[in-house]
Symmetry: C2
Subunit: 329 residues, 2 copies
């Protein structure tokens, strides 16, 4: 592969000048520019990005850490982030943290060792303190779906509490009073927040919470399966079910079919996230929309602005969820 040196020789200019037209940073006389471009074309020259990185101390790569690469949620997130950076000539390095603190820390180090210019983090297990220290270390990063005090300006989140409220409010407005709840793992921030919203809604409607109608699941389909089975066994009657996310709602729906519960006539079910597949269920799932693509885009823009100083004005930090009514409620 041709180097910048050969281009400069062929064009009869200095290395520096070639570099200038490549990066088109400092004005170069039109004639010179054309000569250089002709030389580049003739040699089929393509800049060596590694050398560029070494010299400029910029890798043009952004590390993305998510819990899982599979799953409907992260796919959409990555998709949007990649598109955004690709358009800006940057590239994306991915890693999975699997909701494990050690792995998450590991991945962050890994990404750093790859000299990423910035990081987009979706971490659930490392604690706030670690993240604050990381911020102090000077590493540029944005946090997705998590609000950490002290570094709030790096957080792009969804108002999960509001979402939880909306879900339960919807059921209450439909007249339901005995509402069961299958939560995600309660050590996860978003699980807690969503549940908090649920409780607030109950309170606002003057409905007392029944502990027998609560189950802590795992955000997976099995959580919904086990959850509904458990709740039914308790014997406490309920006409509606709120699930911490769509996967669990899907599991619950499966159980409902098995035990012959009509949805929504005998049991109304609502999910959370509005994943791509929430309309695969039968009946189609009513849920709370998580604008994951927009959040990904916003995170990407944060990096573009803060790290690469691109002129980007509005940087929205907190997104508001929306109720999507389908057939399951």
């Amino acid at each position: 592969m041709a180097t910048i040196y050969e281009v400069s020789k062929l064009a009869g200019v200095s290395l520096a000048t070639v570099s200038r037209v490549i990066n088109n940073t400092v004005p170069v006389r039109e004639a010179t520019k054309l000569k250089v471009e002709a030389a580049m074309r003739e040699l089929g020259y393509r800049p060596n990005s590694v050398a560029q990185s070494l010299a400029s101390n910029r890798s043009n790569s952004i590390g993305i850490l998510v819990s899982e690469l599979g799953g409907p949620f992260y796919g959409e997130l990555l998709s949007r982030i990649e598109a955004e950076f690709r358009a800006a000539g940057k590239h994306v390095i991915i890693a999975a943290g699997h909701s494990d603190a050690a792995l998450e820390r590991d991945s962050i180090e890994f990404l750093q060792s790859r000299s990423c210019d910035g990081l987009i983090l979706h971490v659930e297990s490392v604690d706030d303190e670690y993240l604050c220290k990381l911020a102090e270390s000077g590493l540029p990063f944005v946090l997705i779906n998590r609000m950490v005090e002290g570094i709030a300006d790096r957080c792009v989140t969804l108002d999960n509490e509001r979402g939880g409220y909306l879900a339960t409010e919807h059921l209450l407005q439909q007249g339901h009073r005995d509402i069961a709840y299958i939560a995600g793992p309660m050590w996860k921030h978003d699980s807690q927040e969503r549940y908090k919203g649920h409780q607030d809604a109950l309170k606002d409607f003057g409905v007392a919470e029944n502990p027998a109608l609560f189950f802590e699941g795992d955000f997976q389909e099995t959580g919904g399966v086990n959850g509904l089975n458990h709740l039914l066994k308790q014997g406490a009657p309920f006409s509606a079910l709120v699930c911490g996310n769509d996967e669990m709602a899907s599991g619950a729906i499966t159980v409902a079919h098995e035990v012959g519960l009509e949805i929504p006539e005998q049991l109304a079910v609502i999910g959370f996230d509005n994943i791509n597949f929430s309309h695969y269920t039968y009946p189609k799932l009513t849920t709370i929309d998580y604008p994951v693509a927009e959040i990904g885009q916003m995170a990407a823009r944060w990096i573009l602005k803060r790290v690469y100083h691109r002129p980007i004005d509005e940087l929205k930090a907190v997104f508001t969820p929306e109720l999507i009514v389908r057939d399951s409620t």
Copy 2:
């Protein structure tokens, strides 16, 4: 950040020696090694991967090009590939080709410009010739889900034809004779192959194909929706439906519910791929398993072996699909 130079000074050895203990390539006396390691620890030294890449002409990065980052299929693929490389200390750069020839070519160039050591490609639109030329250019890459003559040793594929056969055979064995087919876009290789398998199965059972029972969809849910609607309108009776993939099967099932067709009593439905969500449907979808994770792993190993000369023996090229019987047939 400390450099190798500072480490060498502190340890009282040469640059070269430090490099040796980092890469632990050539034997170094134990005592020296300890000194160097102590120095590295004291300085909190971490090698600069960009400098390493420039000097060694190896970036330790692998480019992955898939059609979409979203969707259940690619998520699993990426997940396994990332895990495999991560364990080997390599990292993964991702790009999306969106089934568009220009974009696919673009992405490949982009990945090359990022000096990836190797590429894993899931491309649908660029032609065979382009890929053969690319292979000649010396770029190491593996092809996923596509068999190209001339570079067969770089292909990791599923026997789609066999899968198509299995699906239809299953229905035939259950006594169905009027079997409708909703295909993926017929310009895609896998669509053709799956359909070919379907035809072969019909032939083997002495069943004539009815053109009125064929519909070309788009591999999306809407393809299934439009497909079944179209087929029903044709008026030709059929008791079973083969779909080119699970997404379309899901769409078809939705329509079946809407028009009051009992599944599987009045209409048996079978999909293809066994995506994560194929059991979200009601009834749970019978389908053909696409071992996407294994295929991803195999592709990663191909790279590990061919590019990084890791000792890996078995390199399986063609995977065999399996029938997964659930409730929809």
